[in-house]
């Protein structure tokens, strides 16, 4: 059956678009669900990791002899237990250096040794007996400081890529990227008004509730098993086996239920350490991070420094947009999302002249990893702040200014490709017509908006669908479910086969059961793995028809599938009563054995996604405290498979953006140590901080998916930073160029503006 990729926008759906209960719901609310730390194995040991107290230091010597002699200690490992199988450079080598420090500790919290012991208290005591001889080096944590010529250098062999000629002097700038088209200098000449501003954003953590946890077991024959919470257990398998030098097929990884990931669980931290400990101790070892370790030694997102310059004509047409994006990504090259920041910054505009230059910068902070639309929120904050300011200077309503310059079908995007059908204009128009947009504001309140973009991703998926004799269906997918995707997979299979949702169950299969599946990231799973489910269902459908054909003694192509039944394709095919899926399944042992559907591929055609957010904020002018009083998310979902989970993604992204905009930040002391490694002082929003986040789903079908689905998980975190900053500017008359908009910063801005006697930037 050929794939018809034309979106069935006029198709009447039976299951897709409804809101059934999620299959994992009861387990999660009753405590039956098993998360990472719930795994256990006979004879398991407690693994704990010794971490560097220094932001930057040469590790001269590690003496583990005393720890090894402590009763109850079964293994102690250091860099010496991780011989290099990676070839000594590249991303895999950097991962090796990050999971266990080699020559240098690059940040406070960098792993330097680990122990496995019979109890947590023995493990803790053993860590204290390990003596590490450090030579402390000067450190740098700020991105602008790290780029200065005299900054402490992290790597003597880092020569900026992407610069011609390649510099002869090493620096902390790993790479320069440039995107755009046209001629910005010429464009600025045509401008009547130009606004140019510099911005800074602090690093934020994904703040998932579940700390990283892994249980590893490795037999004397070299076969290993790993149970862990991750967004991609195939990635964990491949990376761990390569770091440990074992055959990929020898390591079987099972993914636990996941207590949040948001991009933060798309790499390995403790998993190779747990495996190395298990190998050395010859016993299963469980490693669970503390919250402090999660903050200091997992992968937050980048801190940034951004310059934006945009020019417009008097009638509100943008003539040129130029930006410089400096992203600090921790100690290794290629980790900061500078590239995505530069690519996404101006993606919501139709521009003749645009340039984005982005720098990937290293510093003495934890190795960053993805956080929901990695790189885009910071760039959007800077760009959409300038857009709002330009609209005010033009005397034009910001919404009309955005509509006038919005990217549309056929626009050559700022990062290269030309857009197909996109939903940006629709979200902007919907915002303009939304009751929120016209609602009156109270005293000390302000309103802001922003539009945001995310690319979305397809990638590799492999799905198997099995039909047992009672006609119930198990869909085995290899994409960890981090946002309700099991429900969506079941819905798409039920839709395709014309059966009920309750007849289908989805499981996340381990790495030995299916072919490779990419990490659940890039908002890919409902799109790409979902499409694989549809195609696996079509494969099964073909086989079901074949069984019916054999039963009736007619050719296979004379049978068609309709609403859960095999039927003769027409009158001349014969007069047979339709056979239901259940009937065919019940007869299967005698008609050729088990019936299964399968699909494996690498999906293209993930449609880009746009959103417009509206935010009302109230400021206490005497304390600088912000309260979000109303918030609306309007986003294009292509086709919402399960609207409640789509709304949940809209709301969740908005809330994480609100936290990032208002109070979340990595705070470093002069010693390069993180000062707020806990939820007390790393302030994510609590329920009572928030209004109910209102949502509006728009459906502009994605031509790359049979139902028109677009990924929805990430775009929602892109506009909040700017929407809130614009609302605060509206409420206070002060344009803030640095986030978080913490009360001391806002109060200072208000007081300074008062002294200056009017509006200003802070």
């Amino acid at each position: 059956m050929p794939l018809d990729n034309a979106p069935e926008s006029k198709r009447k759906f039976n299951v897709v678009g409804t809101r059934p209960l999620r299959p994992d719901g009861i387990d999660k609310v009753t405590g039956r669900a098993r998360f990472g730390a719930d795994a256990s194995a006979p004879g398991q040991l407690v693994g704990r990791i010794l971490r560097s107290p220094h932001a930057h230091a040469i590790i001269k010597k590690i003496d583990t002899s005393k720890a090894e002699k402590l009763a109850g200690v079964k293994a102690v490992i250091t860099r010496d237990d991780f011989p290099d199988h990676t070839g000594g450079s590249g991303g895999l080598y950097d991962t090796l250096c990050n999971v266990m420090a080699r020559e240098k500790a690059f940040y406070e919290g960098h792993a330097v040794a680990a122990v496995a012991a019979t109890s947590a208290s023995i493990a803790r005591a053993a860590l204290k007996l390990i003596k590490v001889d450090y030579e402390v080096l000067p450190h740098v944590t700020d991105v602008d400081e790290a780029m200065k010529p005299n900054a402490p250098l992290l790597h003597k062999d880092m020569f900026t890529d992407g610069v011609d000629p390649k510099p002869k002097k090493p620096s902390n700038v790993a790479r320069r990227f440039e995107f755009g088209h046209g001629d910005v200098e010429e464009g600025f000449k045509k401008a009547d008004i130009i606004v140019e501003r510099s911005f800074k954003t602090e690093a934020a953590h994904q703040g998932y509730i579940e700390p990283h946890a892994a249980l590893a077991s490795m037999g004397p024959d070299g076969s290993a098993e790993l149970w862990c919470c991750t967004q991609g257990h195939y990635m964990v398998r491949d990376v761990c086996s390569q770091l440990l030098g074992i055959d990929i097929a020898r390591l079987r990884v099972t993914q636990s239920e996941i207590g949040g990931g948001f991009g933060g669980k798309t790499t390995v931290f403790i998993e190779p350490v747990a495996l190395a400990l298990a190998r050395k101790a010859n016993r299963p070892v469980k490693v669970v991070m503390t919250r402090e370790e999660v903050f200091k030694a997992s992968g937050p997102t980048a801190s940034t420094s951004i310059d934006i310059k945009i020019g417009v004509t008097k009638d509100g047409m943008i003539t040129a947009a130029d930006g410089t994006f400096r992203y600090q990504g921790g100690p290794f090259q290629g980790c900061s999302p500078a590239e995505f920041g530069g690519m996404s910054a101006f993606a919501q505009f139709h521009l003749d002249n645009v340039r984005a230059v982005a720098y990937d910068v290293v510093a003495n902070r934890p190795k960053t990893i993805s956080y929901r639309a990695p790189g885009a929120p910071m760039a959007n904050f800077a760009v959409e702040s300038v857009i709002e300011e330009l609209a005010h200077k033009l005397g034009m309503a910001p919404i009309d200014f955005r509509i006038k310059n919005a990217a549309r079908e056929g626009t050559k995007s700022s990062y290269g490709p030309t857009y197909g059908p996109i939903g940006l204009g629709a979200t902007l128009e919907a915002a303009k017509n939304h009751p929120h947009f016209k609602a009156p504001l109270g005293p000390n309140q302000g309103r802001g908006m922003a539009a945001g973009f995310w690319f979305n991703f397809g990638g590799q998926s492999c799905v198997t669908l099995n039909i047992p004799i009672d006609g119930s269906i198990t869909v085995s997918v290899g994409s960890p479910d981090i946002g309700g995707s099991r429900a969506s997979m079941c819905m798409m299979v039920a839709e395709e086969l014309g059966i009920g949702y309750d007849q289908v169950r989805a499981i996340i299969a381990d790495t030995s059961s299916l072919g490779y599946n990419d990490v659940t990231d890039g908002s890919r799973t409902t799109f790409a793995t979902g499409m694989a489910c549809i195609l696996a269902a079509r494969d099964a459908m073909k086989k079901l028809c074949a069984r019916a054909a054999a039963t009736w003694g007619i050719p296979e192509d004379a049978v068609t599938w309709e609403k859960g039944y095999a039927k003769p394709a027409g009158a001349n095919a014969g007069n047979f009563a339709p056979l239901s899926l259940k009937e065919i399944a019940a007869a299967s042992p005698g008609t050729g054995g088990p019936i299964a559907g399968h699909h494996e591929y690498s999906a293209d055609g993930a449609g880009v996604s746009f959103a417009t957010h509206i935010c009302d904020v109230e400021i206490d002018p005497e304390t600088g405290r912000s309260q979000i009083v109303r918030y609306t998310v309007i986003q294009d979902a292509g086709k919402a498979v399960h609207p409640s989970y789509v709304e949940g993604q809209f709301q969740g992204g908005a809330v994480q953006g609100i936290g990032w905009a208002l109070n979340e930040e990595y705070i470093y002391g002069k010693d390069g140590r993180l000062q707020n490694a806990g939820f007390l002082d790393y302030r994510i929003p609590v329920c009572s901080d928030l209004p109910m986040i209102d949502t509006q789903i728009l459906e502009i079908p994605n031509p790359g998916h049979p139902y028109g689905v677009r990924g929805v998980g990430e775009t929602s975190i892109v506009p909040p930073l700017a929407a809130i900053a614009n609302a605060v500017a509206d409420a206070t008359g002060v344009r803030f160029t640095q986030i978080p908009l913490s009360p001391p910063r806002v109060l200072k801005g208000i007081e300074e503006a008062k002294k200056a006697g009017g509006k200003k930037a802070a």
Partner: protein, 286 residues
């Protein structure tokens, strides 16, 4: 680590006095258990005082209220008479932690942690609360502000335990209030805290006042100059301005991850003014 649950304070004091290693008192445990789990402390002895007779009781008498050392925040919040007499103290105690924490946490523990940001302490200080202390050498009673001497340090000697926190009886036309500044709405720690307790005469003139500040100095601070700004006034704008100024002047805060020095000084005055207005309303003033 040993765990003991004595039934008298005398026995508890003896256990603590005899212990050669690290000994800690366990009442609510909302701070202790967190420190224990994170490996911040490694106790040799835990003395649980929840089994001590009277430790879980609130006693009302003519001289005021006696709050046993193991009474939880939630129990304070459910005590109608206490809430009526000292609403500021109860609201301060009820701000600590979450609902779950409220079921365990105690004001004695909050006091003995000696955090400058402790929510209940400024309210207790403004209320003129006294701590009754039992030790190897007998009983003594001190003003609560004398217990903390620096962040994490108290004036309690080895073997000494707080038996109760005593609040005085309330004259007519009295009111108290506590406000704290936090960036969020709950589950947070005070960046600045301020408690005001006042008594009015028949004409609405302040006859007695006590004002205390939290999180602006190494210990919670009683601010006599702030009280002076209110006494003898009807709390008009000039008096409230003077109050705010006195509170800001009394601050010696630091810049840290929770706020800047400048911010704390300014907000101390803002909170004082707002808390004073609430206290006046509770005292039956306009």
């Amino acid at each position: 680590m040993r765990y003991e649950r004595p039934t008298t304070l005398k026995a508890a004091a003896q256990l603590l006095a005899k212990e050669k290693g690290q000994a800690f008192i366990l009442a609510g445990g909302t701070d202790l258990l967190v420190r224990l789990r994170t490996g911040f402390i490694e106790p040799d002895l835990l003395v649980d005082i929840k089994g001590v007779s009277g430790a879980k009781e609130i006693k009302k008498s003519a001289s005021g209220f006696k709050i046993g050392a193991a009474v939880s925040g939630a129990e304070l919040g459910e005590h109608a008479a206490l809430k009526k007499a000292w609403p500021g103290v109860v609201e301060a105690a009820n701000l600590i932690g979450s609902k779950q924490v409220q079921g365990r946490c105690t004001v004695s523990g909050n006091l003995c942690n000696a955090s400058p940001a402790a929510d209940s302490v400024p309210a207790l200080v403004a209320a003129g609360a006294k701590a009754v202390i039992v030790g190897p050498k007998g009983k003594r009673t001190v003003a609560v502000e004398e217990i903390p001497v620096g962040p994490g340090r108290t004036s309690l000697k080895k073997g000494e335990i707080i038996e109760s926190i005593n609040l005085p009886a309330r004259p007519a036309k009295s009111g108290d209030a506590y406000l704290r500044f936090i960036p969020r709405t709950e589950m947070d720690i005070a960046v600045v805290g301020c408690a005001v307790s006042i008594t009015l005469d028949g004409k609405g003139v302040v006859t007695k006042a006590r004002v205390a500040l939290g999180a602006v100095a190494p210990t919670v601070r009683l601010v006599p100059a702030a009280a002076k700004a209110l006494i003898g006034t009807k709390m008009d704008k000039a008096a409230l301005d003077a109050l705010a100024e006195a509170c800001s002047a009394a601050c010696s805060p630091i810049d840290d991850k929770r706020g800047t020095r400048e911010f704390r000084i300014k907000v101390a005055g803002v909170l004082a003014r707002r808390a004073a207005v609430i206290a006046r309303k509770r005292a039956g003033g306009k």
